[in-house]
Structure formats: structure tokens, C-alpha cells
Symmetry: C2
Subunit: 417 residues, 2 copies
């Protein structure tokens, strides 16, 4: 018994020695997810229990709120409010798509000194990790003793170092349920149905369209991912082939599909770029409409429809993965835990423990290792044809998404007339 | 006690005297809904208990299946299968968008005679009721003793004689939940978000976007319905006004909006018409993209996005209204009930009983009274501004859709900097 006690005492003294005392700021950045508020509440509830953290502030609209000194007092929010906000999709603190300039990062460091901010938690993807990284460097330069943690979220699931990222599983679940219905809708009326899904560089969300397949003839029958070059003639011939065989075809297409040169198919029709220089892919039906028009013009299929799933994938209220909400809360709490243990910076990464039962561990990784660059789907998840996923992907994604609603089908005993 | 017994005996003898003996055919037509299979199973389970019905056949893909003699034996489906199919969205028998010609209706009457079909149940909207009506006339002309019932369904909720139609409440619930999330997404990132919703002539689905509003500043902030003429300059000025006040704006637009001349705004961009001569509005993002482009070009708003909700509204698996599924089953069972009581034709209409508690009665109405023409939203449901709904609509729709997921919001106690 004694060694454990000693260990605890040692750990405690380490905290008392290392973790600074001061205020905390937490902020959200980039595209919202269905579970991003779980991470805020996870960090806030852990911080509330610490004497090292004086005030718990939320910056509204990410780094923009820090620059504007637009803070709210999260420490004074009731437990009841926090519990309700946890379960609510989209960034409760507001979000931002702004890449801070070096001057702005210096200004943030200056504001943190002025407000005695010693803890900064920034929830977002790889761009957000990069911003956190730069702010940390600036604080170090001005000798401000400061702890900075990035908390992962991204529906695209493209963060390096992670088995998967909070936000992905709920969006994937929404997509899987949508395709369960869409496949049946297409089965009832026939024709070609093209669905365009989120995922700029990584096909994880588009691949999730396959999670609800049950019968041999269930769609999606074709899946186009950003990881494989897209050719328009190949696409038309694939669709025509499935249609000739089945009288119908459901297609899942990533918004991020690129041609052999790596150029976005959608880019020719896009007019906007965001602050990070990325082409704006969401909020337009152009890619789906283009693909539908080409199928209509070059095949005999009379009924061709396209839907672009849009922002619903990340914001729909009422469809969530249980694993996702639990993990999103846990990474927020764990970031606070690492910070209060005396770690000065890092990101929380989700690592899957090998074994038959789904289990994860949360590890600290460096900000630099998740910043800037994104990851793609591994080749083992993509079928050789390039237009389907593998059972390795199904094994990977099913525990994240959870059991899907049942689908009933008639036996269809044909009557001889 | 005795009078009730006598009454029952009288009712029974009336059935024995009037209802013919023979086979039954049931079919589904038009756009699928999330609960349309409830109606099939409702009718089949009731028919199974009757000695007047010999075989229970399903025609695949509506009237097309009858013409092709493409029947399946629903009487041999297990209870377990039927229970699973009930809970599954989209038309399990397959659907069709085909308006039968007079020759085809005569052919159907001929096939019904040949197959000794004495009961025909056709599930669909007003076009489907019209087809049932014509087939009934043809059977009468050929002196085939025949019972034909239309079973109502339509997500648009535009069937006459009905307080509301099965399929509507589940689609409305999906839309309400989507807007709960979309409003929060827009609150987090700002800008203008335009969502295009189903509803060719009736604004009921678009109006459902407002059901999840809770706080004074919650979107949708503007709602454009087919019942009020749409002017592009009015639209841009409305959006700009809301944006200037709130820094954001969520807009719900019906795909069926028309100008002062009654011409579809979307029609200029549509290329297709269906068998009923209607412009194809679904399966394209053109209207949303058009509206977004015009806002971008004529205002100072930098972030403008459009989503078209598409087929998910009617087919998404896992979001359903409890009232809707119960009523969809009930109208199917009731149609069989009417038929076996000796009625020769009609449709089942849902009438709401006045009173504080939500309650409905199912009545038989004539086929002609629901066929052909559709209904619109009553003026009492539309705000004077023309860009919002009234509390009368909320009182109408809330019991149908049921309690929505909770939305939590921070108190946002501002910190003086």
C-alpha cells in the first residue's frame, strides 16, 4: 500500500512544483462537430477541480476572440448548463476560420501575459494545432510561463498521430444512416443517385457511406475517394456498368476528388478560398450537379439525381456516436490533466489498443507532430478497384460508429402469373 | 350489453353480405417516405385476419408491377419480416412515378379480373389517388366487383381532406433537427446560410424548419414558402437586413417558390419534367447555388453557403415521428377495415379532433375528393411579413413531430478586459 501512497505523493509534489498558477483560456476553431462541446466541458470540469487555475475563460470565435479580448466566464456556468451544452452540436464558444499572422500571435502572447493566462486549450484540427504551436513559441520568446494544449477534433478524421479524431464517428454515423435510407430510396425508384460527401484530403467520411450495407445489392455501389485519382471517363463507365447490371446505382463521392495531376475536380467550379488558402468545397451543389449532368449526357440512364450532404454531416442534432461523445469529453479532460501535471505543451492523441475488443489510450504528443500536415486513408482501407472500401475499413470504423438502425426487407416470394 | 352485441351482429352480417371474396393487391407509388411501409403492414395484417381475402399480393413498383404482372406473395411473409419492414424507410414494394394512360387502366382492370383481384390498395399522394380512381371506373365499366382504396402518404403534406398526411411528420422532424444543428453551425461561424427544402406547392416542410427555434436569435430568420410570391430583390434586402442586425442569417427556402406570375424560380434552371408533367425539383443544388451567388454578388456578406436537403428529408434512417409511424400504420389498417366492411372505394383521411389534447379520427372520403388537386398551407400559418410562420402553425405541427432534442446554451457571462 505504501509504495502507491508514495507514488501519489511524488506525483502531487511534481504538480505543485511545475504547474503554473493563473487563468485559463479555452477556444474552438475550424468547422464545428456534433461533439466538440464535450471537449470544452471535459476540460472545464477538470480545470474546476484544480487550485492552479484561477479563472476559466472562454474566448469567443477562437483566436479572434482572444485578439478582441472577447472572453466569457466559463467558471461561473452552472453544472446543469454545462451538461446541456455538452450534448449540443456545434461550437458553443463560436468558431473561426482565421489563420493568425505572426504579429497576431505576438499580440496573443501579449494579451495572455496581461490577463495572467497560464493555460490555453485550443480545440480544432491541424491548422488549429499549428496556430497553438506558434502562440506557444511566441509566449516562450517573451518568457511567459505558459501551458498550451491542442485538443483534437475534425470530422474529416485527417489528424496525424491519431487512430481517429473526435467528431468523425458522429459524422460517419450520420452518413451511414443517410445511406441506409438513400439506398432504399434508390431501390424503390431506380436510376442513378450521386451523393457528395465531406472530406477535403481524406476519404474517411465518404468511406462511412458503406457502413450500413447489408444485402449483396445494397449501395453505395461505387465510392470515389480523394486518395485515388478520379477520371471522368472511368466514372461514367463504372456508373453505366452498375446501372446495366442492377437497374440502379448509388454513388458516394468525396468533395475532395482530384484528377491525375492532383487538381481538384470541384476546383474548376469553385470561386472561393478560405483563410488557409483552401478551396471552399462545402455549401455548394456544383460538383454533384456536374457529375449528374455528365452521366445524363453520356449514358442512357434517364433518372439521375445528385445530393450534396453539406453541413448536416457535422451539425445535425440528434444523431451521435456514443463512443464519439465519450472520447470527445475524455480528450478535453485529458488535455487539462496533462497541463496540470506540469506538461508545458502538446496535443492529446487517441491510440487504439490492439486486441479483439475496442479500446483506446490517450497519449500526449507534440504540437508539431499534429500541426500543418493532414493524413489520408491508408491503402489497406481502399479496395484494389479504387471504387470501394475493404473489410479492414469496416473493422476499423464499426466500433466507432456503433450499431446502426435495423433494415428489414421482404422475402419477395414471386407469384407465377 | 345486448344492444352492442346486436350492433356487432348487424355489422358482421353487412360484411358477409357485401364484401367480395378474392385476392388483394397492394402497391406503393410516388416519392417514398420514412413510414410508408407502416401502411403496407397495417393493411396486410388486417387483411390476413379476413376470410374474404384469399391471397395478399404486392405489386412491385406500383401500377408498373400490375401491368408487368410482377407480384410477390405478401401473405407468406413472416410476422418478423413484416415487423422489421414496418420500421424501415422507403417503399419496400418499390415505387413508380408513372401516370397510367386510359389504355393501361383498362389493362389493369383486365389483369385484376384475370387474377380474381377483388381488393386494391394504392398508397400515395393525389396523383396516386387519381390513378386509383380511374382504375376503379374501368373495373366498374367491365362489371368486375371490385374494392379500391387509396392510402394517403406524402411528405409534402398537400393532400386535400386531411389534417396532415403520413410521411409529413417524420420528414418535418428530420428538418427541425437539421435546423437545430444548422442554426448553431451558423451561430458559430457567422455569414449567410441558405437551405433549400422539399415541397412543390405547399410550404409545410419548409415551415417545419422553425419548429426547433428556442432563443430569440435562433434561425431560420427568414422562411420563403411557395404560398407567397418570391421576389429576388425582396429576398436580398431581407437577408441583408438580418445579416446587418445579427452578423448572420439562416434562410429556409422551399424548392417550390414562385414569382408574381406563378412561375417557378427553380424552373429556369431545371431541365427535366416527370411523367405527371411536373418540373423535377429534387436532386439538384441549382436553386440554392443561384440564391447564394446572388447574395454574394449584391451584398457585402463574404461567407454565403447553400445546402439542398435533398432526398434525406424523406428517406433518412433513424429519425422518425412516433405519431407518424402510428398513424401510417393506422391508415393502412383502416383502409382494409373499410374495404372489408363492404365499402367499394375511397381514401382514408386523417381528421384532427378539436380540443386541447392531440387526437385524430380516420374517416372514409371519396377518391375524387383527394385526387388530382393538392392543397397549400392555410394563410393562418403564414406570418404577415410573408417570411415567417405563425404560432398557429407551431401549435399544428408540434404534436405531429414530437419533442425535439434539447439545445443547451452557455449563459455567456462577459468578462471585462
Amino acid at each position: 500500500m505504501k509504495p502507491a501512497g508514495k507514488k501519489r505523493a511524488r506525483a502531487k509534489s511534481r504538480v505543485l512544483k511545475l504547474a503554473p498558477v493563473g487563468n485559463m483560456v479555452i477556444a474552438q476553431s475550424g468547422g464545428p462537430t456534433m461533439v466538440i462541446n464535450e471537449s470544452v466541458v471535459g476540460a472545464v470540469l477538470r480545470a474546476k477541480r484544480s487550485k492552479h487555475i484561477t479563472r476559466i475563460l472562454g474566448a469567443r470565435h477562437g483566436i479572434r476572440g482572444i485578439l478582441d479580448r472577447d472572453f466569457i466566464d466559463l467558471g461561473r456556468e452552472s453544472e446543469r448548463t454545462l451538461e446541456a451544452v455538452r450534448k449540443t452540436p456545434s461550437s458553443a464558444l463560436g468558431s473561426v476560420r482565421h489563420k493568425p499572422t505572426p504579429e497576431e500571435c505576438r499580440e496573443v502572447a501579449h494579451i495572455f501575459q496581461k490577463f495572467n493566462v497560464r493555460y490555453f486549450f485550443y480545440i480544432g484540427g491541424n491548422d488549429t494545432a499549428e496556430a497553438a504551436h506558434i502562440v506557444t513559441e511566441e509566449c516562450r520568446r517573451s518568457h511567459h510561463d505558459f501551458v498550451c494544449f491542442h485538443i483534437p477534433k475534425t470530422v474529416d478524421n485527417d489528424l496525424r498521430q491519431n487512430d481517429h479524431t473526435p467528431g468523425y464517428a458522429s459524422a460517419a454515423r450520420f452518413i451511414a444512416q443517410a445511406f441506409q435510407g438513400d439506398n432504399l430510396d434508390n431501390r424503390a425508384l431506380g436510376g442513378v443517385k450521386i451523393d457528395v460527401l465531406m472530406g477535403r484530403h481524406a476519404g474517411f467520411l465518404t468511406a462511412a457511406s458503406a457502413l450500413g450495407r447489408k444485402h449483396e445489392d445494397d449501395g453505395p455501389h461505387l465510392i470515389y475517394l480523394p486518395e485515388r485519382p478520379f477520371s471522368m471517363t472511368g466514372f461514367v463507365s463504372d456508373v453505366d456498368g452498375v446501372y446495366k447490371k442492377r437497374g440502379r446505382c448509388v454513388v458516394a463521392v468525396s468533395e475532395g476528388i482530384v484528377d491525375r495531376m492532383g487538381d481538384l475536380i470541384a476546383a474548376k467550379y469553385a470561386t472561393e478560398r478560405d483563410a488557409h488558402g483552401n478551396v471552399t468545397l462545402g455549401g455548394s451543389g456544383a460538383l454533384g450537379d456536374l457529375l449528374a449532368r455528365i452521366v445524363k449526357e453520356t449514358t442512357d440512364v434517364s433518372r439521375v439525381r445528385a445530393d450534396t450532404f453539406g453541413y448536416m454531416q457535422r451539425s445535425f442534432h440528434g444523431v451521435r456516436s456514443v463512443v464519439d461523445e465519450r472520447e470527445a469529453f475524455a480528450v478535453g479532460a485529458k488535455a487539462a490533466e496533462f497541463a496540470l501535471r506540469g506538461e508545458r505543451s502538446g496535443s492529446v492523441a487517441i491510440k487504439r489498443v490492439a486486441g479483439s475488443r475496442y479500446r483506446v489510450e490517450l497519449k500526449r504528443v507534440s504540437l508539431g507532430s499534429v500541426a500543418k500536415h493532414a493524413r489520408s486513408m491508408p491503402s489497406s482501407f481502399i479496395a484494389k478497384s479504387g471504387t470501394d472500401i475493404t473489410s479492414a475499413f469496416l473493422n476499423y470504423a464499426k466500433p466507432l460508429v456503433g450499431a446502426l438502425p435495423r433494415v428489414g426487407r421482404l422475402r419477395e416470394i414471386v407469384v407465377k402469373g
